[in-house]
């Protein structure tokens, strides 16, 4: 009769790369042999022993997938990984997206699109209509386009230089789509990307009074709500929940987020 020891589930464990998929020049996806139960919008912490640890969004959970833009030390190292290589991962952490309403408008900037494929699949299973808005500086920085094309979603692509889709910002087709919605209260914008983009989208949504779920980024240290490093200040439009007094001016991306909810 063995006794269960204790709650070890939050410790880092070994994952093995099964497949590598090139998304674009700077971005690729790693598909693991193992899966990790998680929701779209949650994140994981990837540890490269002897080098460091960084947060990444869950891009698929079964098997686990992450989509990584090669921009520095850890992401550059991961960029070299081949099938059979091991990474150490803990998680999932944080609050993911919550499916809501009948129409979903998914907006991703750059590698910010990484959790949106997983989200789209989850929403489709609930019979929610999905629009996807992918934006990037140029066509070669777009990710996951092929995958989205395989799904029954309406796909809108923008590039700043016009190398693919509409030239301009992702907010242009987004605004159009919002304007054409029959019932704004029954729709929701789900966005993921750099802070500036999120502030822009939040302002746009506020103008139309449409609910939105934004997934924030910050530099994390403890990932556990203790060090305060990932603290951000939420947009004015965000209403502080009664059970989280003081959180508007000191919102922890790792613990309160990464997803914020505005209705």
């Amino acid at each position: 009769m063995e006794k269960p020891l204790f709650n070890e589930g939050k410790k880092s464990r070994v994952f093995t790369v099964d497949k590598v998929k090139i998304e674009n020049e700077k971005t690729h996806s790693l598909i693991m042999k193992e899966s990790m139960q998680s929701e779209p919008g949650q994140f994981i912490l990837v540890w490269i022993p002897g080098m460091g640890e960084k947060p990444f969004s869950v891009a698929a959970s079964d098997p686990l997938m992450i989509t990584i833009a090669d921009v520095g030390k850890i992401s550059g190292q991961i960029d070299r990984y081949q099938p059979g290589d091991r990474l150490w991962i803990r998680g999932p952490f944080g609050q993911g997206y919550k499916p809501y309403g009948e129409n979903a408008l998914l907006v991703g900037g750059g590698y910010g699109a990484s959790p949106l494929l997983f989200l789209a699949e989850t929403l489709l299973k609930k019979d929610i209509n999905v629009h996807v808005f992918l934006g990037a500086r140029s066509s070669d920085l777009l990710i996951l386009v092929d995958e989205f094309e395989k799904l029954p979603v309406t796909l809108h692509i923008t590039t700043n230089d016009g190398t693919r889709g509409i030239q301009g910002f992702v907010t242009v087709p987004l605004e159009e789509t919002i304007q054409n919605l029959a019932d704004i209260q029954n729709a929701c914008v789900y966005a993921c990307g750099p802070k500036k983009m999120l502030f822009g989208i939040d302002a746009l949504c506020e103008r139309y009074g449409i609910p939105r779920q934004l997934s924030w980024e910050a530099i994390m240290r403890c990932g556990m709500g203790l060090c305060g490093n990932c603290k951000i200040e939420m947009p004015d439009t965000w209403k502080e929940p009664a059970d989280k007094p003081g959180s508007k001016k000191a919102w922890l991306v790792c613990k309160d987020g990464p997803t914020s909810f505005t209705k």
């Binding site: 020891l5 204790f6 709650n7 070890e8 589930g9 939050k10 410790k11 880092s12 070994v14 912490l45 540890w47 022993p49 002897g50 460091g52 640890e53 960084k54 091991r86 150490w88 803990r90 994390m220 240290r221 403890c222 990932g223 556990m224 709500g225 203790l226 060090c227 305060g228 603290k231 200040e233 059970d243 989280k244 007094p245 003081g246 959180s247 001016k249 000191a250 613990k255």
Partner: protein
């Protein structure tokens, strides 16, 4: 409803006996405000040193199953910025303001003296200073130096669970003028990942906090309670109202929480206090004096 107000000294009256421990959210004025608004009856700033310390690479902490391990490398903005931070906290907290305990850390007597003089500019409600582990002479000198420079501000000696003869150390601190004892600071530990064949934390070892620290802390607080007559600010693994009750039964006058914010969020303050209140009611306690140190009566 039991009476929860707590007079720590002539100057300091807390509305409840649960406060924020040092190090958790203690490097940010707006997070201190959040702790105050969430029910902390006092907030403690992160240990500050004379100069800014940048901190370490990730990983800097982990939940290892029985508790947490952390080593943030003493990140802090330095004492001058900390004075600024304390003032900003007071201003931003406005009506929600609660007493602030300023924690200072140094290696030697001179630096402690210096830090005390500097942090005093923020007029914290208590100056808390981290004592070394076992050199009784040094412990006496540091306490005397902080006492001398703190003026009329009460001071609390923070003692580590690894401290040798912890009761005696607390007694020395009391004799040299400490107004309170804060106990405990955590125990050193290390996580190793067998598959990576490496220590998990970037600084190799760290400090063990949370549930697994509780029985160790209870023993320390008991040992201290038997030796001193000043109030004890108890901490180490408190994450429920019953934990809080145990710590007060051992001799703590008020209780600090740190890791519980990971386990239960900022709501930890109100949740733990509610559970503690239920306990006090069902067990028929009328006030905090009745429960403090009761296992020794």
């Amino acid at each position: 409803m039991p009476d929860f107000s707590c007079r720590l000294s002539d100057q300091i009256q807390l509305k409840t006996p649960i406060i924020l421990a040092s190090g958790v959210s203690g490097n940010s004025d707006s997070l201190l405000v959040r702790a105050a608004k969430s029910g902390a009856a006092a907030v403690t700033t992160k240990s500050c040193t004379l100069k800014y310390r940048p901190g370490t690479d990730n990983p800097a902490s982990s939940d290892w199953g029985c508790g947490l391990i952390t080593n943030l490398g003493m990140t802090n903005p330095g004492v001058d910025s900390m004075v600024y931070l304390i003032n900003a906290y007071r201003q931003k907290a406005a009506d929600s303001v609660v007493p602030v305990i300023a924690n200072i850390y140094a290696d030697n007597v001179e630096e402690f003296a210096d830090l005390t003089a500097k942090i005093k500019l923020a007029q914290p409600d208590i100056v808390e200073f981290v004592l070394p582990d076992h050199d009784q002479g040094l412990i006496a000198e540091i306490t005397a130096a902080v006492r001398a420079n703190a003026g009329t501000i009460p001071i609390s000696a923070k003692i580590s669970a690894t401290c040798v003869a912890i009761g005696k150390t607390a007694r020395t601190a009391q004799d040299k003028g400490a107004n309170f004892i804060t106990a405990v600071n955590p125990i050193p530990g290390m996580l190793i990942d067998a598959f990576a064949a490496k220590p998990f934390l970037s600084l190799q070892s760290g400090w063990i906090t949370g549930p697994s620290l509780k029985p160790i802390a209870l023993k320390c607080i008991s040992d201290i309670y038997k030796e001193v007559s000043i109030p004890i600010i108890g901490m180490g693994g408190v994450s429920s109202g019953l934990d809080m009750a145990e710590m007060m039964l051992a001799g703590a006058s008020i209780v600090g929480i740190g890791s519980a914010i990971y386990y239960r969020g900022y709501e930890a303050f109100t949740k733990i206090l509610e559970e503690f209140e239920t306990f006090m009611n069902t067990e028929g306690y009328n006030n905090l004096a009745e429960i403090c140190g009761k296992i020794w009566r």
